[in-house]
Symmetry: C2
DNA sequence: TACCAAAGGATTGGATGCAATCTTGAGATA
DNA sequence: TATCTCAAGATTGCATCCAATCCTTTGGTA
């Protein structure tokens, strides 16, 4: 396993920012951070530059890097962009037709979701399974579309602390059931090569998720780093 | 005007890559490049990291940076992604309603286009005006949507050598007339708050541009750096 | 001939020192 | 008191040096 300390530092820092261990708005001092991470300033500076380019940090020449504080609107807007991009992916897959591999993968992901929801109520033990399934489901469709830009751009929209697929989790059983039903319908639509329905099913699916997250922010169940409470995910 | 040599080097290198002065696939040697640019390897390496993050360079640990060679499909896919994103922007503006400023700006951009096309034939002297107008027109609509992600993601899709709005130019008068007619219809649709038509007018507008560029690549009028001829824009 | 191994040079990655810029705070002035 | 000035400390940016990794080439072996 050959890697460089720059990429390790980049990964670690990204994780710290995404999880909120480093707070939005915080200034990152190179000397201090480098020492804390056990490297010199050189690889750290490269990592900072990378994360700034990813949009997680803000950079001002001669003044250094600060953690970007996403506003509520940034998060909503991210979902809107993701919705049309993933809609494009679904439409593309429907038009091209799915490979057998993809169909099989999606079918087994659907089953995992069905199983997690089978109890008729929300069991916290099943949440991790469901969330992982959800991430993989969306990822699998994007991969199958084989549009490198959609892949890249969607990954980019996921780089928002507390708003990525990996962090967000439904907190209401009935919403999860409906959401997973969307997954079933989506696979059906794609299988039938129904481009239009595949497109709008996935767009609606993600737009609704955006509305839900917006509501959570409103209620204070999620904070973006700027609201007064300064709490993380409830 | 305070800036750092890192950002200057980044800008210069980006320009060199976008314009094809540095060829796709080419390996970038740090020592040599730094000397050529008159800086040390430190700011150069930061610039290289930035450009790699932007997608213009490919990086392999311990092996350095090479200029990314976009394949034909990458370019087509870029237009597909841009189409849905700009469609979202147009739809958003139509839904929100345009500010007076925006309406005025767009109207005067339309006039510039009308003027450039008024001769009834294609005058090379007017091409620059038209191209600039076209870039500003699209940019203005995106700005007016005020969705930071769309802005950012579209900028990203434009970072393809020879395929950005700034480089591409129609070479057929009748196509330009039709394309500019799209602009007129788009402003009309947005003014009437017709979300659906604004959306699909801009999508079609860009998808067609993508088809056109694809055809140009096919004909060898544009090369992506991988085709045998290794020519630039004709 | 084809393949493998090791040594030497070449290239990239990281640490350190110094210069340039910014920030802070004490003192002066209105 | 509020504001401005400027100097000292702090922080970032850049150049250089050394270490780690890669690449090439030469020689050997099956």
């Amino acid at each position: 396993m050959s890697t460089t300390s720059t990429v390790e530092v980049t990964t670690v820092l990204r994780e710290h920012i995404m999880s909120g261990q480093i707070h939005p708005g915080e200034k990152l001092q190179q000397q201090r951070l480098a020492q804390a991470l056990g490297v010199s300033r050189t690889p750290l500076r490269t990592a900072l530059a990378n994360l700034a380019q990813e949009g997680l940090l803000q950079y001002e020449p001669n003044r250094g890097y600060t953690v970007r504080a996403f506003k509520r609107k940034d998060i909503i807007d991210g979902f809107a962009a993701r919705a049309v991009l993933e809609g494009l992916a679904a439409a593309t897959v429907a038009r091209q037709g799915m490979s057998d591999d993809a169909l099989q993968d999606l079918a087994s992901l659907l089953t995992i979701g069905d199983t997690a929801l089978a109890k008729g109520r929300l069991d916290p033990d099943d949440l991790d399974d469901y969330r992982t399934m959800n991430v993989n489901f969306h990822q699998r469709i994007i991969e199958e579309a084989r549009n490198s830009w959609v892949e890249e751009l969607v990954r980019h929209t996921q780089l928002i602390p507390f708003a990525s697929n990996r962090m967000i989790v439904w907190q209401d059983y009935s919403i999860m059931v409906r959401s997973h039903d969307d997954h079933h319908r989506l696979v059906d639509a794609i299988s039938r090569r129904d481009v239009a329905r595949a497109d709008y099913l996935l767009r609606e699916h993600i737009n609704f998720a955006g509305d839900y997250v917006a509501k959570c922010i409103e209620d204070g169940r999620i904070t973006t780093g700027f609201s007064k409470h300064r709490r993380n995910i409830a």
